[in-house]
């Protein structure tokens, strides 16, 4: 259920985008983007660089004038407003802190623009800095802060103006892996506590899954799938979504009864009807290795390359018609290169039929 | 509407410039009223015809362009190693020191420098006094009031412009490229010739174009150090106004000069664009 009932009976989403299109010359940066996001939810725009996700974010923030389409915040059309009059606040990539102002002055900036009384500004700045645990840094200059601290200042600077939409452009890309994971959790908790409708741009599927209520997967200016994280993972809507989220086995073949026959590789049980031209998508984790003669084996091949990825090992199984990637738990007796093995489905429901 | 307001000051200046350069082509169509500082009609092409027919200016034009090209080449030869040193020395002190000397020279003004060279190069100046005292020469060696003296002072004038332009170009050549070249077995000299120099050529062309423009328009230096004996176009024009009192003809000669200088600079700009396309360092500006 997206959206909620307004007292007046009008359903108004926290953020609603419809038919949004932007061309740069002949190149379409975004085409016909549309979705509805309920209040207080966090949406990530996921896609490779150049897919249009940043253009979409900047269009919502008011920095890109769309050629067509509407942007509604809580029922109000903001498409014609300049950035300073939109109820949005952006954490820019690289944070864009004002280098010539202290942390406190940075955070106070938006309130000053709203002509809020000085005494109230001081209190709100203090609260905002406390919320991001930077009270001690108020008088520092941005250049004296670490990357993580700068990011928190940028966040505080946005939250202090109490925007109705919080926008974040690749907020964690400049941080180390450990700090990144810590900040992701921190952002998610803060966002849930404040109940603020939020849109995050990222190219990292892991980040998208950790943070989001909803994920919008984009490629080449188009919205491929708007879904819950689990929906994106378990039931990718298109071939692009499948491969972008790590579904590396995309097999071409034909349905024969309840089976999908992949020439030169094997036969796999079908979870659903597969019209001609369909692909069968299998994550490496949806497969397991068995003895070559095991009746469950769908394909038989030779172990090629083996890569350790942590708790699992990723094996490439060379079949006559191509290779399959299989993730297996690492334990004694794990397959070695050159061994002949069978490949079976670990869980039949994890196979996905994709339209070509 | 708001954009127009931002553009307004620039438009006013453009209008003044257009008016100035436009009026000056028109001045050439008029005639000097003898014995006064004013010009009057009727409009005629006489001055332009006189300029095109009379061969008197041709040697002056050729001299000026030849001299400017020569000075530009000398400046580039003297200046490039200095620019390279400033760009690549590991000592911050030396880098800032040399930059400070260049910027100070540049900011100290052309009158100061022209005058400095006058008192150094004159027949009774520092250089000749030193040489005479040392017994190296019997007669003062004449440097001033000939092209040599003007040339020395002009190279000195051009050097900071050239070097400061090229330093930026060399610094923009990523160090990693030089390191990659060394890593792949190329010696320092060959790395310089095959990587650093080619990639800095666009900046060299820019510096040379700037030097050429400044050398062509040199006026004060030939005036002070040439003593009327070094005849360049700028001084020829000046004489038309302050000696011959013929403003319309001066305007015509100026127009001819302008066309020739623009042609020379267009050639340089074309060369620069060519080099830039060939040796662009890829967004590292």
């Amino acid at each position: 259920m997206i959206g909620e009932k307004e007292p007046g009976g009008i359903s108004a989403a926290g953020l609603e985008v419809s038919g949004l299109t932007k061309h740069y010359g002949a190149h379409a940066a975004i085409q016909q983007i549309g979705f509805r996001l309920e209040r207080g939810a966090l949406l990530t725009l996921l896609g490779p660089s150049g897919c249009g996700k940043t253009t979409l974010l900047r269009a919502i923030g008011g920095f890109v004038a769309a050629d067509a389409g509407r942007i509604l915040v809580e029922g109000q059309d903001i498409g014609a407003l300049p950035p300073e009059r939109r109820p949005t606040a952006t954490v820019f990539q690289g944070y864009a802190l004002f280098p010539h102002m202290s942390v406190a002055a940075n955070v106070a900036y938006g309130l000053k623009m709203q002509r809020i009384p000085r005494a109230e500004i001081a209190g709100r700045v203090r609260d905002a800095l406390a919320a991001v645990q930077l009270s001690a840094m108020a008088e520092r200059m941005p250049s004296q802060l670490s990357g993580g601290q700068q990011q928190r200042v940028a966040l505080a600077r946005c939250l202090v103006v109490r925007p109705r939409i919080l926008l974040l452009d690749e907020p964690f890309s400049a941080l180390d892996r450990n700090l990144r994971e810590e900040m992701q959790v921190e952002l998610r908790k803060l966002q849930q506590r404040l109940g603020i409708t939020t849109v995050v741009v990222t190219h990292d599927q892991q980040e998208a899954f950790i943070l989001s209520d909803w994920v919008a997967v984009m490629n080449a200016g188009r919205l491929h799938q708007f879904d819950r994280p689990a929906g994106v993972y378990d039931a990718p809507a298109t071939r692009f979504v499948a491969s972008f989220t790590g579904m590396t086995n995309l097999l071409e073949g034909q349905a024969e009864g309840q089976e999908f026959v992949v020439p030169g590789i094997g036969r796999f049980p079908l979870p659903a009807a597969a019209p001609p031209g369909s692909l069968l998508g299998l994550r490496p984790g949806a497969l397991r290795l068995v003895e070559p003669g095991d009746p469950a084996a769908c394909a038989v091949g030779e172990v090629g390359f083996v890569a350790m990825t942590g708790a699992e090992a990723l094996c490439e199984i060379a079949c006559p018609g191509g290779a399959l990637q299989v993730a297996v738990p690492r334990r004694p007796g794990a397959p070695v290169t050159g061994a002949r093995v069978g490949v079976a489905l670990a869980e039949p429901s994890q196979a996905v039929v994709l339209a070509a | 509407m708001k954009r127009n307001l931002v553009a307004l000051p620039a438009m006013v200046v453009l209008a003044v410039l257009a008016g100035a350069y436009g009026s000056f082509f028109a001045t050439g169509l008029l005639r000097q009223v003898p014995g006064t500082a004013s010009v009057a009609g009727p409009l005629s092409l006489d001055n332009y015809l006189r300029f095109l027919a009379g061969g008197g200016q041709v040697p002056v034009f050729l001299d000026t362009f030849g001299f400017a090209v020569l000075l530009t080449l000398i400046t580039a030869l003297i200046g490039y190693p200095l620019a390279y040193f400033i760009a690549r020395t590991e000592s911050r002190f030396l880098r800032v020191f040399f930059l400070a000397v260049l910027v100070a020279t540049f900011l100290s003004g052309s009158v100061t420098r022209a005058y400095g060279w006058m008192v150094i190069l004159g027949n009774r100046g520092l250089l000749n006094s030193l040489l005479l005292n040392a017994g190296l020469i019997e007669q003062p060696f004449r440097i001033l009031y000939r092209q040599l003296g003007v040339g020395i002072a002009l190279v000195h004038f051009l050097l900071p412009f050239f070097v400061l332009t090229v330093v930026g170009g060399i610094r923009n050549v990523p160090r990693a490229l030089e390191e990659a070249s060394r890593d792949l077995g190329c010696g320092p000299a060959r790395t310089f010739m095959r990587v650093t120099l080619p990639l800095s050529l666009p900046a060299v062309a820019e510096g040379m174009a700037l030097s050429l423009a400044l050398a062509l328009s040199a006026f004060l230096f030939p005036l002070m150090l040439g003593g009327g004996r070094v005849r360049l176009v700028a001084n020829y024009i000046y004489d038309q106004i302050f000696v011959a009192f013929d403003i319309p003809f001066a305007a015509v000669v100026s127009a001819g000069f302008l066309v020739c200088s623009c042609a020379a600079l267009l050639v340089m700009a074309g060369l620069q664009r060519l080099l830039l396309r060939r040796f662009a360092t890829g967004g590292l500006t």
Binding site: - | F24, R88, V103, G109
Partner: protein, 264 residues
């Protein structure tokens, strides 16, 4: 740079020669200005401040110095007032490259040509006052120098803080005033210095716009050198060099000379 002993010696020799060449005229002029004698002669005689008194008491140089300072005091702010919006337009607008090229004309066009062009324009408009002619002419001439410094500043400018300001509710003008302009401080300073130096040093344009009563320092200096042979101009040159030195220190302190080059 690692070099062999021969390479090292050659570099040292070259650098010493170039430095000697660059510094010779300025150093000698400073020395000459303290020389008591009218003529230069070896060995050097007594030192005195005689030529400084001559410079500051002169009927020729006094009015010229005053006129030059008045002109600079008008030209520098006028130039910046035009350069700031123009640089903004060039950095933010689309297809404004021609604007920069057109405004840079006075740098590329020989000064004598520009001088005569202004002379013609002011003749037609009937501007008889030399001060007005010099102020307008030099403002237009100095603009490209300030513009160059500001363009360089814009090139190194991160645009996102300005967008952040807009995002946080600042109007375009407030965002410019509170966020963009403070970040351009270095460019404004460099632009002001360049405009000052060009306005006070220009000869080839100013000589056509001045008259016998209103002259700038370079013109007065040229005429003095033409008619007299004494170190008064050396005293003037030393004062100007001192000013230049102050500018270098300010630039190094506020911007850093290395940065100036990177974007210059």
């Amino acid at each position: 740079m690692r070099r062999g002993p021969l390479g090292r010696a050659l570099w040292t020799l070259y650098l010493a020669l170039v430095m000697g060449f660059l510094l010779a005229p300025v150093l000698f002029v400073v020395f000459y200005s303290f020389n008591d004698a009218t003529m230069f002669r070896l060995p050097v005689g007594a030192l005195s401040l005689r030529w400084y008194r001559a410079f500051f008491d002169s009927d020729q140089f006094q009015p010229a110095l005053r006129a030059t300072l008045v002109i600079a005091a008008i030209v520098v702010p006028a130039t910046l007032l035009v350069a700031l919006p123009t640089a903004h337009l060039m950095a933010r607008g689309k297809g404004q490259a021609w604007l920069g090229a057109a405004l840079t004309a006075p740098v590329v066009v020989p000064g004598v040509v520009t001088g005569i062009a202004f002379l013609g324009l002011f003749g037609m408009l009937g501007v008889g006052d030399a001060m007005t002619r010099l102020t307008i002419g030099l403002s237009v001439f100095c603009l490209p120098f300030s513009l160059r410094a500001l363009n360089a500043s814009y090139a190194g400018l991160d645009r996102r803080p300005e967008e952040a300001a807009r995002d946080l509710g600042a109007t375009p003008l407030r965002a410019y005033w509170g966020v963009t302009l403070p970040q351009l401080k270095a460019g404004v300073l460099a632009g002001a210095i360049f405009a000052f130096v060009e306005a006070t040093d220009n000869f080839s344009i100013a000589v056509f716009l001045a008259d016998t009563r209103t002259r700038t320092l370079p013109i007065a200096a040229y005429e003095h050198v033409r008619d007299f042979d004494d170190p008064t101009v050396a005293a003037m040159a030393t004062v100007l060099t001192l000013v230049a030195l102050v500018f270098v220190l300010v630039l190094e302190k506020v911007i850093g000379l290395e940065k100036l080059i990177r974007h210059g």
